[in-house]
Amino acid sequence: MSTVAWITARGLFGRRRVLLLLPLPLLLVGLAVLCRSYDVNPADWGAPVLVGLGLAVVLPVISLIVGTGVLGSEVDDGTIVHILTKPLPRRDIILAKLGIAIGVSAVTAAVPLFVAGALADSARLGLGLAVAAVVGACAYSAFFLLLSLLTRRPVLLGLVYILVWEGLLGRFVSGTRVLSIEQYVITIADKIAPTAILEAKVSLTVSVVMAVIFVLGCTLAAVDRLRSFSMAGETS
């Protein structure tokens, strides 16, 4: 574990801030247990809970908060200067930060999705959802990390992506699905555990290739951006 990773992890978890990550996963598991205990047909509650809450809200929102937080908050505070002036390759800085972001968001999203999936159908569906969530966490984290280097308002831009691009356009305009991480996640989970709950709308090849492109492309772009990063003062 490099020191940069250690500092990043402490910035995320320190002073009980880790508790803020708990409500969303707990809500996901709680709803699944509630539906299970009332014997509601999983075909009815699977889609709103697993897709509507799990894959459309919990995974992207947690990845957004964590992914923009690892680097964006240091840019905001100006403490990134201390890291940049150390004799470390910029690549190592990005990789350490990205590793922490992926690890935290993957665990926070995959564990409750596994439990909810197992309650809905079978452990196989839970496993499929968990694997897909890990892939999604990698792609989302890399993307949002890059955003936090490109703009001063990364969270708002990330919200536009989640709410407008994936939420509104992804549902009505079929062409945008090829560039929607949420659709890759749904497809991968559906291919691992075929059920009636999930409905894949893009092919498996497209989702795997595009997810890899997202991760590698965004990471490389972020490293490149950090190489020539200039500190700007507080903008309005």
Binding site: L24, D44, W45, V58, V61, D76, R153, V155, L163, G167
Partner: protein, 287 residues
């Protein structure tokens, strides 16, 4: 022996003009907050997001007005229009609320504010009033566009215009409920952190995570649970109140006989959020 000391007059002057009281401070914070919400007096970058949202909502209203002018029927009525824009309202709240309160927390200017004849209630009141106005304008302005479209193309003269006004005024009241509830929740979350990024993320997370709760409750095998499901989410809560108060709202909400429950929850929720905000600013030193 030192010489006897002398006090030199170095020209400090006393202020002898009029001193404005709490009311003026309140008004100044209100006007400043309302301008900041739409990015006036800020750089062009600060105007992008609020005007993007306002532009989309206005565009939808223009399209609706144009469709009615051509076909004679309105695809969405005023109430349904506000409901259909709910995601954009959430996004707008996530932009504006951190702008209004998180910046002050982060830059540590609150002790300066409260060194004036200003109470915590004035500060909160002005911020809440500014944001309610901003959110209300976001909905009421486009609703007025739809109204103008209807009023100018009406076939029945003044009585047609009067019918439109009778539809518009309750809708403006309905938009005010939206604005009050979303302002209360949004400002409360934003006041917890000085980081605008975390505040925006937190607001969206809180609003979005309630929608699936409503989705699950509304498929539970119990008629009462289905009627009360709307209480779980702010968006459906407001729709339920509109359904109960305004005849012909057609929000599609199932509220059964529980209309008053919805109204009570809206009032309680708004009051609770405002009281918690006041409690948050009770001790400025700890901010």
């Amino acid at each position: 022996m030192p010489e006897s000391s002398v006090i030199h007059d170095i020209g400090y002057q006393r202020y002898t003009g009029p001193r404005l009281g709490r009311g003026a401070v309140f008004g100044a914070i209100y006007v400043h907050g309302l301008r900041a919400a739409y990015g006036f007096g800020r750089s062009a970058k600060a105007k992008i997001f609020p005007w993007l949202v306002f532009g989309i909502v206005a565009l939808v209203a223009v399209i609706l007005a144009a469709v009615r002018a051509q076909l004679g029927t309105l695809p969405l009525n005023y109430i349904q229009f506000a409901d259909a824009m709910s995601w954009l309202i959430i996004f707008f709240v996530a932009i504006v609320a951190p702008e209004l309160v998180s910046r002050d927390l982060r830059s540590g200017v609150l002790p300066l504010y409260f060194s004036r004849p200003l109470r915590a209630a004035d500060y909160i009141g002005a911020k809440v009033a500014a944001m309610v106005t901003a959110v209300w304008i976001l909905l009421a302005g486009p609703q007025f566009i739809i109204f103008l479209g209807g009023a100018f193309t009406t076939k029945t003269g003044m009585s047609g215009v009067w019918n439109e006004i009778e539809d518009l005024l309750p809708a403006w009241g309905y938009s005010l409920i939206w604005a009050l509830l979303f302002t209360g929740i949004g400002l409360l979350i934003a006041s917890l952190t000085g980081k605008r990024a975390f505040a925006a993320g937190g607001i969206v997370a809180v609003f979005l995570m309630t929608t699936p709760v409503f989705g699950v409750l509304s498929i539970l095998p119990s008629s009462t649970a289905q009627d009360l499901a709307g209480l779980a989410s702010p968006m459906t809560l407001v729709s339920g109140v509109g359904q109960w108060l305004i005849s012909g709202a057609n929000t599609g909400m199932r509220i059964g006989e529980f209309g008053p429950v919805y109204a009570i929850e809206v009032v309680t929720l708004i009051a609770t959020c405002l009281l918690l905000l006041l409690a948050r600013y009770r001790r400025v030193a700890s901010l």
